[in-house]
């Protein structure tokens, strides 16, 4: 923004600010006398004197307004809380002449191509995106959750259990971040509109075109945020393990499992994720019986979880001398690698059986081996994990433990989700059963997702790792469907 614009923003800042008083009340702690009497701020919003300066923007476009009081609270009594929410609903941020984001959506201004320099079109597109983002973030639920978390954070005995407290404050921080970001977007949109109106009033074509440009930029930026909002799940930002297992059918299906694993390796590399093979059991002739890779990077789990299920291949098998058509399956499981302190299961050493496998003979000084494969069995659940690709037994054991932890966490999360039926089955359930995608190489060529009906006619590109479209269409679909109910 030019300094010229800035000056104007400052000039009008007091009125802009007053429109956000509903947010600002969020940031008043209960110890603050002003927060005790909410009615004051509701009745006389324009006289409310805030504890911070007018809004300015940080690099990410999020208003600093909301950063002022990180530790916001909803007051200590339920009564206050309810009051607060009604406040927020009553006083939405708006432009100087009262236009709100909801109103922009309701206006249904035509959304034209980006190249058309029409501010209403941009504003309408942005408002739609914001609404979609809110929907994907499950905005109403998010607010309730945030309220609960803030309430818990206020409890004086919270830090008696530091692990629990850590979890609460992390989740609170992350939800807060999302809320601020969306509030920031709304605010930014309205500011731009205000600016355009101002420019028109004052007959300043430079300012107007600059503001329209800013709107356009925002429109593009918000489109990306729509995608990010798809990955708002608690563990979506984690790294993950992807496990592929060959179905029945011998060499043909082991070859297929190998192809599927290769597809994920290429996909992960394409996205810039780190890939390490943790465990691999090769087929005698081709492919793999099963394998596990670790995919390291932000949102690896968020994306890869869309791949869970059975993948079906139809082709003329190169392993069949009679050149018959075969159908085979490979099962894919994905588990998140939660950070220390956010595990859902505490593993008890005494519940573990640790075995060296593929070792024979007397061992010890008798043998020179470079293979120190280790398998760990969690006796109460029967869940196992193995690793043989590290160069020491100790490291193999550590890797296998990490896989085991991830599998146990996943199992526990699925159990909890089932109990609260909070998530759709497909997202958390690692059951091998449900077929999710079909890859046909013969008699025609096509890859089709059975959940979304998304399909492409070039299986080669898919097998080379171009699966983002499948993932996004599934995430969009399931997310938008889920939030409708």
């Amino acid at each position: 923004m030019s300094s010229n614009i800035l000056r104007r923003v400052y000039k009008r800042s007091s009125s802009i600010l007053s429109r956000y008083q509903s947010i600002s009340t969020l940031f008043v702690s209960p110890s603050d006398p002003q927060s005790i009497d909410f009615s004051t701020s509701i009745d006389t919003p324009r006289n409310y004197s805030p504890v911070f300066e007018f809004p300015s923007k940080d690099a990410s476009g999020v208003s600093l307004l909301s950063n002022k009081r990180l530790n916001f609270s909803f007051g200590s009594s339920l009564n206050n809380t309810r009051l607060l929410f009604s406040t927020q609903a009553a006083v939405q941020p708006s432009t100087s002449d009262g236009l709100t984001v909801d109103a922009i959506v309701a206006n249904q201004w035509a959304i034209l191509d980006e190249s058309e320099n029409d501010w209403k079109s941009h504003a309408s597109a942005i408002a739609q995106s914001i609404r979609l983002i809110k929907k994907r973030l499950q905005w109403e639920k998010l607010k309730v959750r945030l309220e609960i978390l803030s309430f818990q954070l206020e409890k004086p005995d919270l830090w008696d259990d530091p692990v629990h407290a850590g979890k609460i404050s992390r989740e609170h921080g992350s939800l807060m971040g999302k809320m601020k970001e969306v509030n920031g977007l709304e605010q930014e949109l309205l500011e731009h509109i205000d600016m355009i109106k101002l420019a028109r009033e004052e007959n300043d074509p430079d300012l107007e075109s600059e503001s329209v440009k800013a709107l356009l930029k925002m429109r593009q930026n918000v489109k990306e945020k729509e995608l990010e909002a798809l990955l708002a799940g608690e563990h979506d930002s984690c790294s993950c393990y992807i496990e592929v297992q060959a179905g029945a059918g011998g060499t043909e299906s082991m070859d297929w499992a190998g192809m599927v694993m290769q597809m994920y390796k290429l996909w992960a590399e394409r996205r810039g994720y780190g890939v390490t093979i943790v465990d691999e059991m090769r087929g005698e002739i081709a492919g793999i019986k099963r394998a596990t890779i670790k995919v390291d990077g932000e949102y690896a789990y968020g994306y890869a979880k869309a791949e869970v299920g059975a993948h079906r291949l139809v082709r003329i098998s190169p392993f069949d001398a009679a050149k018959r058509r075969h159908t085979s399956f490979a099962a894919v499981a994905v588990t998140p690698i939660l950070g220390d302190g956010s595990h859902h299961v505490n593993i008890n050493e005494s519940d573990l059986r640790i075995e060296r496998y593929r070792s024979g003979g007397a061992g010890g000084q008798h043998a020179n081996v470079t293979d120190s494969a280790v398998r760990i069995t969690h006796i109460p659940t029967g869940i196992t994990a193995s690793c043989q690709n590290e160069r020491s037994q100790h490291q193999n054991k550590a890797s296998a433990m990490a896989v085991l932890q991830s599998r146990l966490d996943q199992r526990e999360m699925a159990r909890q989700a089932q109990m609260n039926s909070q998530y759709t089955q497909s997202l958390t359930d690692n059951s091998w059963g449900n077929q999710i995608r079909s890859y046909v190489l013969h008699p025609y060529r096509m890859v089709k997702d059975l959940r979304t009906n998304f399909e492409v006619s070039d299986p080669d590109s898919v097998l080379e790792g171009e699966i983002d479209d499948f993932i996004l269409s599934f995430l969009t679909d399931s997310m938008d469907k889920e939030n409708e109910v």
Partner: protein, 374 residues
């Protein structure tokens, strides 16, 4: 056979010793210490050089090769590995093709600056020049030795990954075994039980590459110290090199000498004694897996007729050297040796030890004997 001719004890003589007192055992100890070096000198390898060769992964990137030449080598090496099939496994429980392929990847990992480049190659980059830590001829010769001479992979790359350590090894020094890693966990448990041990003096007898000593050195407290002994001058050199590499020279002193000789001054004051002494019965040496029998030092493997000579010597020494509450852990050849040792301790060193335990390795073989000095 180049095995030891002089056997100080065998099972029958020990059975006799069993009835004797600890005091006598300690006299036996002193006697054996004086005899032992003589018997060993007849088997020790002539040290080629006393300066340890740095492992491949630590050598400078002084060589280059084009991607396509390196690829040629890799394909040749793969073919050679594949040709092995399961023949070594069938012969003497040696590595199969799959093991060898994995080793080849690790060799590449150690020899190249950027090992990934070899995996993600496309034809347009054939002439790219890569930096290497060994020249291509050496890589050919190394892999040939791996397959044709059955030279252990760890001697090829000059290192062994052991626990979270990477230890330098070379011919003349035993390659630390995965089983032995557990000794560190046993010690860790012991010092958790008795915090005093954490700040005491520990001994790793027959330290070889220094593996156990370094593993322990890293879990002891600020005042804890380790004396690592070995009769082999190459082992002493290599262990010192490794100790320095992990910057533990102030905590661990490596001394050349037979078993307890270098620490006699600490009699009765040692907090912990650990050892993985030679325990293979002499008669089994001939049938060992080629990597072991043909390449590893016999001094590190041959435990006498029943494989127990050194273990028994160590047991007797532990009774003498440990302070009350002191901990010991010994690795053995398996269940028979474990049972014999425990029985020996209970009878010969009656009331000298308590909490005697036999602990299996991850393959389920009863591998370790541990206990505490009364």
């Amino acid at each position: 056979m180049r095995t030891r001719k002089i056997k100080l004890m065998n099972l029958t003589s020990l059975a006799r010793v069993s009835s004797l007192s600890t005091a006598f055992a300690s006299r036996t100890l002193h006697r054996s210490i004086t005899c032992r070096p003589i018997s060993c000198s007849s088997v020790s390898h002539a040290p080629t050089s006393l300066k340890p060769k740095p492992p491949l992964f630590l050598r400078p990137l002084t060589f280059t090769a084009t991607l396509s030449d390196l690829q040629k080598w890799q394909n040749w090496a793969k073919t050679l590995a594949s040709s092995v099939g399961s023949s070594f496994t069938d012969l003497d429980n040696g590595p199969d093709s799959e093991n060898l392929h994995r080793e080849l990847n690790w060799l590449i990992e150690d020899a190249l600056e950027n090992p990934k480049s070899l995996l993600t190659l496309d034809d347009s980059k054939r002439d790219t020049v890569l930096q290497l830590r060994a020249d291509l001829d050496e890589l050919y010769s190394l892999w040939k030795q791996r397959i044709e001479k059955r030279k252990p992979f760890q001697y090829i790359v000059g290192c062994e990954h052991w626990r979270d350590l990477v230890l330098s090894v070379e011919e003349g020094v035993l390659i630390p075994r995965p089983e032995t890693e557990l000794i560190i966990d046993l010690v860790d448990d012991a010092i958790k039980q008795n915090q005093e041990l954490k700040e005491g003096l520990w001994a790793d007898l027959g330290t070889g590459s220094g593996a156990i000593a370094i593993g322990i050195g890293r879990i002891l407290g600020d005042f804890g110290r380790v004396i690592a002994t070995d009769l082999s001058p190459i082992a002493v050199q290599v262990a010192s090199f490794n100790v320095n590499r992990y910057n533990l020279q102030d905590k661990i002193s490596v001394k050349q000498g037979s078993w307890f000789d270098p620490l006699m001054e600490f009699e009765g004051r040692v907090a912990g004694i650990v050892s993985n002494p030679p325990y293979i019965p002499s008669g089994h040496i001939r049938g060992l897996q080629a990597e072991v029998g043909r390449h590893e030092p016999i001094l590190a493997l041959d435990g006498g007729e029943d494989g127990m000579s050194d273990l028994l010597h160590l047991c007797n020494g532990a009774a003498l050297m440990l302070k009350p509450g002191g901990f010991f852990a010994f690795e053995t050849n398996g269940e028979d040796q474990c049972l014999f040792l425990v029985d020996h301790m209970k009878t010969v060193h009656h009331n000298s030890f308590y909490n005697l335990k036999i602990i299996p390795d991850f393959a389920g073989i009863k591998r370790f004997v541990t206990g505490i000095r009364s």
